[in-house]
């Protein structure tokens, strides 16, 4: 009995898997078509809701012109999710592994030479990589996990136009890779109010204590002058409403099933703040980023594409 059940379920699984795979291929074909047909009217920001992380990303990147708009064949890509905490996916403390996996898969698909993923975790790095499910997800999609918790990877750079942050040590992959994709998770944060795309970039520098000591918001905004991400993907699938960033209670984390995508790091943070229920001006680093011209937090002036996957 048991063996037959197993065989049947195996067959079912493989059938489902191949259907999904085939579907994906067809879907991607349409993606690239869109990307080529309407290049002039690309949105500044894409907002998706009511889908699983991978499906929402598929829809968002298709609307934004497909991954080939951001990654050329043969280029190296670095993806920086939030893998700061030794916490499983259901706690919403780290970026959803399925989302990271899908982004890696898209990059591989359009011919990226290497797709690197790392984070300078707050907890013990290797444990975070494993517990968050991201290491497994990335490897299964053909990406490469790179250690981010050792000083040797961090190169000193000057921050042009930095008001408070004049120089800092940055992970060499951020400096060397052709494409930089920032994949934060939308969370309440006890020290900055919210942790979003700009705040997520604290995980690419070595000395975070300097930020805290000299002005958290100002340094977060200043860092954007080193290198702005080519693409930001905000994981709003699970949202931590309070007691963030890492050890919120069970009731504090809600499934919101949203996703934002933009190459404007300030705009995506402003939109995420709105989803959370805050005015973007309340979060000082968004305000500073807007004022210093890093991006645009005025959502009304942006071309926003909204997608509802159920409707």
């Amino acid at each position: 009995m048991e063996t037959r059940d197993t065989r049947r379920s195996f067959l079912k699984k493989s059938l489902t898997f191949s259907t999904v795979a085939a579907g994906t291929l067809i879907f991607r074909g349409i993606d690239s078509l869109w990307g080529q047909v309407i290049p002039g009217s690309l949105p500044d920001l894409v907002a998706v809701k009511n889908g699983e992380p991978a499906a929402m990303f598929d829809a968002a990147i298709a609307r934004a012109g497909g991954m080939q708009r951001f990654v050329n064949p043969g280029q190296t890509v670095v993806i920086k999710p939030n893998i700061g905490w030794n916490r499983p996916p259901e706690t919403g403390a780290n970026t959803h592994p399925e989302l990271v996996k899908r982004i890696v898969a898209h990059c591989v698909d359009v011919g990226a030479k290497k797709v690197y993923v790392f984070d300078h975790a707050v907890d013990k790095g290797p444990q975070c990589y494993e517990k968050s499910g991201i290491e497994f997800a990335v490897k299964s999609a053909g990406g490469i996990m790179v250690p981010g918790s050792h000083q040797k990877y961090f190169q000193k750079v000057d921050v042009p136009h930095g008001e408070t942050l004049k120089s800092t040590r940055v992970h060499e992959l951020i400096l060397e890779s052709d494409v930089y994709i920032n994949v934060p998770v939308l969370k309440h944060h006890s020290s900055s109010g919210l942790t979003l795309a700009m705040k997520n970039q604290m995980g690419v520098v070595w000395n975070r204590g300097y930020y805290h000591l000299n002005g958290l918001h100002r340094c977060i905004a200043d860092f954007c002058h080193v290198r702005k991400p080519d693409l930001n993907v905000m994981d709003g699938y699970r949202v931590t409403l309070r007691n963030g960033p890492s050890r919120a209670g069970k009731d504090d984390v809600v499934v919101r099933k949203t996703l934002l995508l933009s190459s404007d790091i300030v705009a995506i943070d402003a939109a995420a703040a709105r989803i959370f229920g805050k005015n973007p001006e309340e979060i000082n680093y968004i305000l500073y980023g807007h004022r210093t011209g890093i991006g645009n937090m005025d959502l009304s002036s942006l071309n926003i594409d909204k997608i509802n996957l159920t409707g």
Partner: protein, 567 residues
């Protein structure tokens, strides 16, 4: 000596049945134990380390002794078993259970293979019984007075542990980082570089010097270390003299070829005098193995119906008298005549020495013990979770540093005199570079001496090892009126959290929930620290984690499940 050694070719005995030599069995057992000790101290796998800590490493002389002293049933049983073993088989502990002894055997193996003298050990077997027994008595006295100082310094298990933790692991992590650089040169990210913990240089040099000394002594003088400096060896020697099973040389068979004397790693066989100093014998069985005449036996005279074999031989169980030199045949009758006198002399000497040491040691021991326990003003280190508090920890820790090697955060660090002289080298938690990880309980599983008792993760997450102190006047949120919140971000229980006033997040305490993990202290960017922890001398049970109910009015304005995007 040489004229008495007959130069005969070794005879092949075709009739002799093939059997596994007992020396080989001993060597294999020792090698297996060595592998287990290395698995234990190198923290190859947490589960293995935990299992070995409770079994193999717990079955050590001092780890079981301190356990016995604090009333652990298991430790008492293990200690009794060790005593019984040595009463029956002699210093079998030194032969197969002691990691430092096996380490020396490895050096002896190398020496026999590559050394110039090919294992021809002492022409004049050295023995310093006065020093040896003085160390034993001092160690015992200090232990009874409540100080572990000599145990921590001289326990062979702990010494080996420190070799592994402070030296070999450092070399291995260096090699790992070299390999990382090499593989990453080819863009292969298959290894993770490790950041070694801080180095306590005095301890590093002492350990290094000790390694050199033990290696040198073993290479050139066999087990001289065990028979001169080791208190465990000295203790078991008291039993091996009178153990049930003893080595002896059958005078009828012995041809005085001297092979046993040359191979003996303890330098305790006198082939000319035909005697074995059982006190120094570490039960390696090599002499039995090497004897071409099968003249050396290992049997229980008390159980044997036959006449004991070596009764007529000068039995040199009295190292004080026999000293270092093997007696030549000419001296033998003299030795026989003097035997009674010598015995009496030895008794007197040891009594006098014992009295002297007692007179000197007890006040010294009490004084050393007092330094630790009667100075509440001292800022004690934070002890690992499961250690119940400073006193339990310091009374039970033999400073093997297994917890240091197993701690993934490198937060447990050895000290020198953090617990006073009585608790020399005992480790504590150092929050300057790291914190005690909320989801980890590795140290509670490995401690072989019961200084850190096993703790479930649920209990560990509610065990307060230190108390949080917040000096708001120093906090830059207060002084500069801008966000920092580093402490609240990392606090696993929200004992420190933030409340928002005028769009600035101010740290606030809920001390009941604090478990003293030290994360806030580690990350606090101001100097001196605005938030830090102070050791709880006795560990407490903390309240469950604290959760704020509602962060202002925000979630209502936020996007609900069915809502449209608010932009």
């Amino acid at each position: 000596m040489t004229e008495h050694v007959r130069n005969r070719p070794t005879r092949e005995k075709p009739g002799r049945p093939l059997k596994i030599k007992i020396a080989t069995i001993r060597a294999i057992s020792a090698a297996v134990m060595m592998v287990l000790f290395i698995l234990f101290f190198m923290d190859v796998h947490p589960a293995t380390t935990g299992f070995l800590g409770q079994t193999v490493a717990g079955f050590q002389f001092f780890t079981s002794l301190v356990g016995l002293a604090s009333g652990s049933m298991k430790a008492t049983l293990l200690f009794t078993l060790l005593l019984l073993l040595s009463m029956v088989f002699g210093r079998i502990y030194c032969a197969v259970l002691c990691p430092l002894g096996i380490f020396q055997d490895m050096m002896i193996f190398l020496s026999r293979r590559y050394g110039k003298r090919k294992g021809i050990y002492p022409k004049h077997p050295k023995s310093y019984p006065f020093l040896w027994y003085a160390i034993l008595m001092l160690t015992a006295l200090l232990f009874f007075a409540g100080s572990l100082i000599l145990i921590n310094v001289l326990d062979p298990f702990s010494i080996f542990g420190r070799f592994c933790t402070l030296l070999i692991l450092a070399v291995l992590s260096g090699m790992n980082n070299l390999l990382v650089s090499l593989t990453e040169h080819f863009h292969l990210f298959i290894l993770t570089p490790v950041t070694p913990g801080p180095v306590l240089w005095p301890l590093f040099f002492i350990t290094y010097a000790w390694l050199i000394m033990v290696t040198f002594m073993a290479f050139y003088h066999g087990r001289l270390y065990c028979n001169t400096l080791c208190p465990v060896g000295a203790f078991f020697s008291l039993f091996s003299r009178v153990a049930l099973f003893r080595f002896s040389i059958d005078e009828k068979r012995c041809t005085a070829c001297g092979k046993c004397g040359r191979i003996c790693r303890a330098g305790c066989v006198d082939p000319v005098g035909g005697s074995i100093d059982l006190a120094r014998c570490v039960a390696c069985f090599d002499c039995m193995d090497v004897c071409p005449e099968n003249a050396i036996t290992y049997r229980a005279p008390a159980l044997s119906t036959r006449e004991p074999l070596q009764t007529r031989r000068p039995h040199s169980s009295c190292p004080a008298v026999r000293g270092a030199t093997a007696l030549s045949a000419k001296e033998m009758p003299q030795a026989l005549m003097n035997k009674g006198v010598q015995k009496r002399q030895f008794l007197l000497t040891s009594l006098a020495a014992g009295g002297g040491i007692m007179a000197l040691g007890l006040p010294l021991g009490t004084a050393l013990a007092r330094i630790t326990w009667e100075s509440p003003a001292l800022p004690f280190p934070v002890t690992p979770p499961g250690s119940l508090g400073v006193e339990h920890f310091s009374r039970n820790c033999v400073a093997c540093l297994a917890c240091v090697s197993v701690c993934p955060e490198n937060v447990i660090q050895p000290g020198l005199t953090d617990y006073g002289m009585a608790g020399i080298i005992q480790p504590g938690l150092d929050f300057t570079r790291s914190r005690c990880a909320y989801t980890c309980r590795a140290c509670t599983l490995v401690c072989p001496s019961g200084a850190i008792l096993p703790l479930s993760l649920e209990k560990k997450q509610r065990t307060r090892i230190a108390r949080v102190v917040f000096k708001e006047k120093r906090c830059l949120v207060h002084t500069h009126k801008r966000d920092c919140g580093a402490c609240a971000e990392v606090c696993p229980t929200h004992a420190v959290h933030t409340i928002r006033e005028n769009n600035i997040h101010h740290p606030r305490l809920k001390p009941d929930a604090c478990i003293g993990c030290g994360a806030c202290q580690q990350v606090c960017p101001v100097n001196p620290k605005a938030i830090y922890v102070e050791a709880a001398r006795v560990h407490e049970t903390a309240a469950p984690p604290f959760f704020q109910k509602q962060e202002e009015k925000t979630p209502e304005k936020g996007m609900g499940p069915g809502d449209d995007f608010p932009f």
